[in-house]
């Protein structure tokens, strides 16, 4: 890289982006940082509190509980949606008229707004008049998602699987379709069984798209708010109160701006850290 020229004025070209990013991310974020280290009683009067709010949030059982619920929820939906999505993608046709039919059907749930999904499932799962709720009760299983925590979790997870598995399917399908025929032909000649074809050809070739799929599903599900809020409102009790529902309760319900701001930052850093660690690990061997 000896012949690389250095031209400091080129930094000016970056200014428009810096300004844009400043207005849509950095400045709003700085107000949160501002709240997180101060106490206010209104009238724009602030008192410096240092890291007090951070300590309070990190030591609060309430935060631990909602973080725990959040981790269980995200872990569960990833464990269901990723294998299920890959399995569906594997069974989809590769060419012909059915390809577009399948793709449109798959894309459908993704086009529905979050709050509509919540409302749909709320009605769908109602024990007395909802198709799902009524059917389960008709089978002799007592089911009421507004009263039973297990039923609420079951419904919330089912709703998320219904809403988002398609995303994994579409990404995995794109990954599968990009594998040249020669790989399958070579595997056939090498006498590979279907499992070996999946393990040594399809899965490695899907690695990049699956990394993206897992990242997107992790981030989205970790920040989920609207759907469970409309479906269960975080209940019964606090059993489906995930991090963002809890955060909104602290910030807007109790109007504790300091702890809410500290919690926001911790929340943000968790998402950032997990995504970064995961991505780095997955891409470790991709540089070659």
């Amino acid at each position: 890289m000896d012949n690389k020229t250095t031209y400091q004025k080129a930094w000016f070209f970056v200014i428009p982006v810096v300004v844009l990013v400043a207005f849509n991310a950095l400045i709003p974020l700085m107000t949160v940082v501002n709240y997180s280290v101060q106490e206010t009683f209104g009238n724009n009067v602030f008192f410096w509190e240092g890291v007090k709010w951070f300590e309070e949030v990190l030591n609060s059982e309430r935060f631990h509980a909602s973080l725990g619920r959040q981790l269980i929820f995200t872990g569960t939906i990833l464990a269901i949606e990723v294998p299920l999505g890959v399995a569906i993608a594997l069974t989809m046709p590769k060419k012909g008229v059915w390809v577009s039919v399948c793709l449109v059907l798959m894309a459908m749930p993704l086009l529905i707004p979050w709050n509509v999904v919540g409302a749909m499932w709320n009605i769908f799962a109602l024990p007395d008049i909802g198709l799902l709720g009524h059917s389960i009760n008709a089978l002799g299983i007592e089911y009421n998602f507004t009263r039973q925590p297990m039923a609420a979790w079951f419904t919330t997870i089912l709703m998320d699987v219904w809403h988002w598995t398609s995303l994994v399917v579409l990404l995995a399908y794109a990954g599968l379709n990009s594998i040249p025929d020669a790989y399958y032909q070579a595997a056939k000649i090498d006498g590979a069984k279907p499992w070996a074809v999946f393990r040594y050809i399809q899965l490695p070739k899907m690695k990049r798209v699956l990394t993206i799929a897992i990242l997107l599903r992790f981030m989205d599900s970790f920040m989920i708010y609207t759907e469970p809020f409309v479906l269960t409102g975080g209940g019964p009790g606090n059993t489906t109160t995930f991090l963002s529902i809890d955060l909104v309760k602290v910030a807007l319900g109790q109007f504790d701006l300091g702890p809410a701001a500290a919690m926001s930052l911790i929340y943000f850093l968790i998402v950032l850290l997990v995504s970064w660690v995961f991505y780095t690990l997955m891409m470790k061997n991709e540089g070659q």
């Binding site: 020669a182 032909q185 070579a186 056939k188 000649i189 090498d190 590979a192 070996a196 040594y200 061997n285």
Partner: protein, 360 residues
């Protein structure tokens, strides 16, 4: 190992082929002996890959039969045919090491680890992959990956034939030559039948004992490189092989002798054309034309230096006739005469050679 026989093979990708153009592969019968090196040569889209995939079992032919020795294999899938194939783009199992890649076909066939290890090391040595054996296959260069693809065929002792589908496409030019001589060397060493598909005449002619030239799904000639050069059976072979290609000049035939532009052309063979409406042409390679004091009158138009010889473009009426003049040879200026070597002058009717005689 066994010979390969193709009987009345025909293939179409359409469900109900109607006319000639619907057949990707027109009817053909070929007989390849055990242990030979063959090349399928033709331009892109001529059906050579189709033919290869039929032999390997990746495609089932619409009509006809494929025999490996005494056994008909037309309906057998690829994994039961005991063939190996190297593809245009290197196929390696990315997550495995080079060693595991080479061992893969053996392990899939349930061969014991001791035997696998012996075989893998033997082949790795043969292909100069010994040093990279324990590294991940994904990290290798294109030629290394292509060697692995080949190696996965070589490790198996039951292979009838190894097929190559334009295997040097993604290889750097300076490594092409090296890999090609490696192939030739391996063929002599292990003696498995090899079929090499390419659109590059140099690759085909240097690799194969016998070359099958294909055009638009049809086999136009099967012969040794010398036969293809000296006695092209079809004007396409004349054009496609050789650089520059054969001169093809419209002519008439009078009592078995060709007449070009009113001038009788001397020829060792005799023309046996029985279709009076056929389009007749003389075919003569630039290598077999020389300047003379009398013969076909031409004007010299262009001389281009091609190293050891010059390509001279001359004009007779509307026709351009090219000839080769050795380095230092004399090129007359402007108008002169050409002489065709009678031993290497052929006549074609509707593109197929119709001169027969001393050459058989």
């Amino acid at each position: 190992m066994s010979e390969i026989i193709l009987k009345n093979l025909r293939h179409s990708y359409m469900a109900e082929p109607q006319d000639d153009a619907d057949w990707a592969l027109k009817q053909m019968s070929v007989d390849w002996s055990d242990g030979g090196a063959y090349a399928l040569l033709g331009p892109s889209g001529c059906g050579k890959t189709t033919l290869l995939n039929i032999i390997s079992g990746l495609l089932t032919p619409t009509e006809g039969e494929v025999w490996f020795g005494e056994e008909e294999v037309s309906q057998l899938p690829a994994d039961q045919r005991n063939i190996a194939q190297v593809f245009q783009f290197p196929v390696v199992y990315d997550t495995m090491t080079v060693y595991d890649n080479l061992a893969f076909p053996l392990r899939n066939r349930g061969i014991g680890e001791a035997e696998v290890d012996r075989k893998v090391r033997e082949i790795a040595d043969m292909l100069d992959l010994g040093e990279t054996l324990m590294t991940r296959a994904a990290g290798l260069t294109a030629d290394g990956k292509q060697k692995i693809s080949l190696g996965r065929g070589l490790v198996r002792s039951d292979v009838n034939v190894i097929m190559f589908d334009e295997p040097l496409t993604v290889i750097d030019p300076h490594l092409k030559w090296e890999l090609r001589s490696k192939l030739k060397e391996l063929h002599q060493q292990i003696g498995t039948t090899m079929i090499y598909v390419t659109h590059d005449q140099t690759e085909a002619l240097t690799f194969a004992d016998q070359v099958v030239v294909m055009q638009e799904g049809e086999v136009v000639q099967i012969g040794t490189p010398v036969e293809l050069f000296e006695r092209p059976q079809h004007t396409f072979v004349g054009h496609f092989i050789g650089s520059p290609g054969m001169n093809v000049l419209a002519c008439e035939v009078d009592q078995g002798q060709p007449v070009y532009g009113g001038i009788p052309v001397e020829m060792t063979d005799k023309v046996k054309a029985d279709d009076p409406s056929a389009r007749l042409e003389i075919g003569i390679r630039p290598e077999f034309i020389s300047f003379a004091d009398q013969g076909i009158p031409v004007n010299v138009e262009k001389v281009s230096d091609a190293g050891r010889f010059s390509i001279v473009e001359t004009r007779h009426g509307d026709d351009v006739i090219k000839l080769l003049v050795p380095e230092g040879g004399n090129v007359p200026s402007e108008s002169t005469f050409l002489k065709f070597d009678p031993d290497h002058t052929q006549v074609y009717a509707n593109d197929w050679m119709v001169s027969r005689g001393s050459h058989g």
